[in-house]
């Protein structure tokens, strides 16, 4: 067993106080300001238990969105929203037929579950976060842990972050009129705790850690899967790969996938929206300038025209 030596100091099941730097024991990483942290979500080991969804709701005190059945496999959550910051996708076999004609988890097992993909989706905490770049009040900001958080006491609910997000993550809550999304457990990070979803994940599908470390782990895992015959495995959101296109550079919360991004409801090639400001402003001002020049010419030439019919 891979147990941190400090874990032996805390043998009781119930403690009266926090364990200092608890994340060292649970995630093997010490949380310090001015370092980059993120999530590596390895979908090949996700079992769809939704412990992450529950842990997130519990810790962040979020209400349920939809109490009912959607008919979409085991996914009754539906989508990320103002109140749902982790969402487990369930993708059944028929989706994945188009990845080379073979089912992604095709192997010698009996047919059931062999092509069933599960993926715990979350805010990507983008390097160039479009929501943060769009925010006109500065409510959205980069924390000392390189994560993206909405300051609830600043947000005025303009809603501009919602269409800015290329992943459909942020939402303005009808209940309080503010934008909400995953904070990567900013409060827990401050207290040296691993984010709730990652801590609760029983298969380590959700891994929390320093970004460079996670990216190295993901690279190793992809190579390992390729060796084992899962040639469809790739990372989504690592530097300049799929999901980090169009000047997005990289996502602090990235994924290991085995089917095309669209199957997981992810865009294949998102772009950085703020790069479209300059072309739009230039084209608009140029058009206006052209018409203003034409107006000056018309005013200068037609002014002496006698008033007809008077």
């Amino acid at each position: 067993m891979n147990v941190h030596p400090r874990a032996r100091d805390y043998t009781q099941s119930s403690l009266g106080k926090l364990i200092p730097d608890e994340s060292e024991l649970t995630a093997g990483v010490k949380i310090e300001p001015r370092k980059q942290y993120g999530f590596f979500t390895d979908t090949t080991v996700c079992i769809g238990c939704k412990a992450c969804e529950v842990a997130c709701k519990e810790w962040n005190n979020l209400p349920a969105d939809n109490v009912g059945l959607t008919g979409h496999s085991y996914d009754n959550t539906g989508a990320l929203s103002a109140n749902t910051w982790r969402h487990v996708n369930f993708i059944e076999d028929s989706f994945s037929k188009d990845s080379g004609g073979k089912s992604v988890r095709d192997n010698d097992q009996s047919p059931f579950q062999s092509g069933w993909l599960m993926m715990s989706d979350v805010c990507k905490h983008c390097h160039h976060a479009p929501c943060m770049e769009a925010c006109p009040t500065g409510a959205l900001f980069k924390t000392e842990f390189d994560t993206v958080v909405v300051q609830q006491d600043i947000c005025n609910g303009c809603g501009y972050c919602v269409p800015a997000c290329p992943f459909g993550v942020v939402e303005v809550s009808k209940a309080d009129g503010k934008a909400h999304k995953c904070t990567l457990c900013y409060d827990r990070l401050k207290g040296g705790l691993e984010p709730a979803c990652a801590k609760s994940c029983p298969t380590d599908s959700i891994q929390f850690g320093e970004l460079s470390d996670l990216q190295a782990r993901a690279k190793k895992r992809v190579a390992e899967l390729h060796d084992r015959g899962v040639h469809t495995a790739y990372t989504y959101g690592t530097p300049d790969g799929p999901g980090a296109t169009g000047d997005m550079q990289y996502l602090n919360a990235f994924f290991l996938l085995t089917d095309r991004p669209e199957a997981y409801n992810l865009p294949a090639a998102p772009t950085r929206p703020s790069n479209r400001i300059a072309p739009a402003l230039t084209a608009g001002l140029a058009t206006l300038a052209g018409l203003a020049l034409a107006a000056v010419a018309l005013m200068a030439s037609g002014g002496e025209e006698p008033h007809r019919g008077r």
């Binding site: 947000c155 107006a295 007809r308």
Partner: protein, 338 residues
């Protein structure tokens, strides 16, 4: 029927996805993006008023610059029209916030990566000049003071500069998002909005113009702007088709755009101006109709653009098609992060 029943693209089709829409998998047909929580009528109304006031300030200042006293009535109406954005327009912006009592947080920062922040400061720089111009014009009209109207004219001049920004920045507000219909066409949308702004400004100034000469010139400017808008509309539709977003033009909002923005707002006034000009008659009520149609069409262009954008964000076959690698911009110089 479930979306999964749709035929799945072969690997060859994956390399060249259909122009119409995404034919690969979607996640149970669920939206991949979230639509902007803007009310199309409220925000579209603001964009219209910003364009109208901004362009009225630009055109009336130019008219007084070129024609001097002979265009005094144009300048006067320009100063009145320019008050629409600071008053009604600002109110619409605040009403559309989901926490309106915190509207002042817009003034906490200035941020060049956020067109909403850029727009906040453009509008803020427009308000004082438009306000002083309007108040002194009002004073001149009420107390018949010639000196005050000269002050109105001078103090209003800087409003032309921020008015140019106010007429155009709203296209970047929409394009700098991930909503496919807006993101697909930053340049084309900007050309349409700028031309529509000038057309609406000229139309509003021409209504009730005292001299036929000024009125005719304003109508010609309006017609030229409408012609540019028509050309930009053709370019815009071509671009969204090429980028696979055209399915959203078939939505109800798309039809609204075709009928109200293009038919009523561009083709009808262009036809009326052409007909009256060919007959060489003095402006009639048909010209008033053309100006009114231009104004309604300009407003409906903004409202329907917001609606079509929302539709494109909600439909996964549109957004997943739009975010294919073939639509990536060529690598360019990078904007520094904030």
């Amino acid at each position: 029927m479930d979306d999964r029943v749709k035929p799945v693209a072969t690997s060859r089709e994956q390399d060249m996805p259909e122009r119409r829409g995404w034919s690969g998998p979607t996640y149970y047909g669920r939206s991949q993006l979230k639509a902007a929580p803007f009310d199309p009528w409220i925000v579209g109304g603001y964009i219209f008023l910003a364009g109208l006031s901004g362009s009225a300030a630009v055109l009336s200042n130019l008219a007084e610059l070129v024609r001097g006293k002979r265009a005094a009535d144009v300048g006067r109406r320009g100063r009145y029209l320019s008050m629409l954005a600071p008053t009604l327009g600002s109110l619409l912006l605040i009403v559309d916030l989901h926490t309106p009592q915190r509207f002042y947080n817009m003034f906490r920062i200035a941020k060049r990566t956020s067109p909403m922040s850029i727009g906040t400061w453009i509008l803020s720089s427009f308000i004082p000049f438009a306000g002083v111009g309007f108040l002194s014009q009002l004073g001149a009209d009420v107390f018949k003071l010639a000196g005050l109207s000269r002050f109105a004219r001078l103090s209003f001049a800087p409003a032309a500069v921020s008015g140019a920004g106010l007429s155009t920045y709203t296209a970047s507000l929409l394009s700098a998002t991930s909503t496919p219909y807006w993101a697909a066409q930053p340049k084309e949308l900007a050309m349409r909005f700028a031309a529509s702004s000038i057309a609406s400004g000229a139309a509003a100034l021409s209504l009730g113009a005292k001299s036929d000469a000024n009125r005719r010139t304003l109508e010609t400017i309006g017609a030229a702007a409408l012609a540019v808008e028509l050309a930009a509309t053709v370019m815009s539709h071509k671009t969204v088709k090429a980028k696979g977003v055209a399915e959203s033009l078939k939505s109800d909002w798309g039809k609204t755009e075709e009928v109200a923005a293009l038919g009523l707002g561009v083709l009808l006034p262009l036809g009326i101006y052409a007909a009256t000009r060919l007959r060489g008659r003095k402006p009639t009520s048909a010209n008033d109709l053309a100006a009114l149609a231009t104004l309604v069409g300009s407003a409906m262009l903004r409202v329907s653009t917001l609606g079509i954008g929302d539709d494109s964000a909600r439909r996964p076959e549109v957004s997943l098609r739009f975010s294919q690698p073939e639509n990536l911009p060529p690598p360019k110089r990078r904007l520094k992060s904030v």
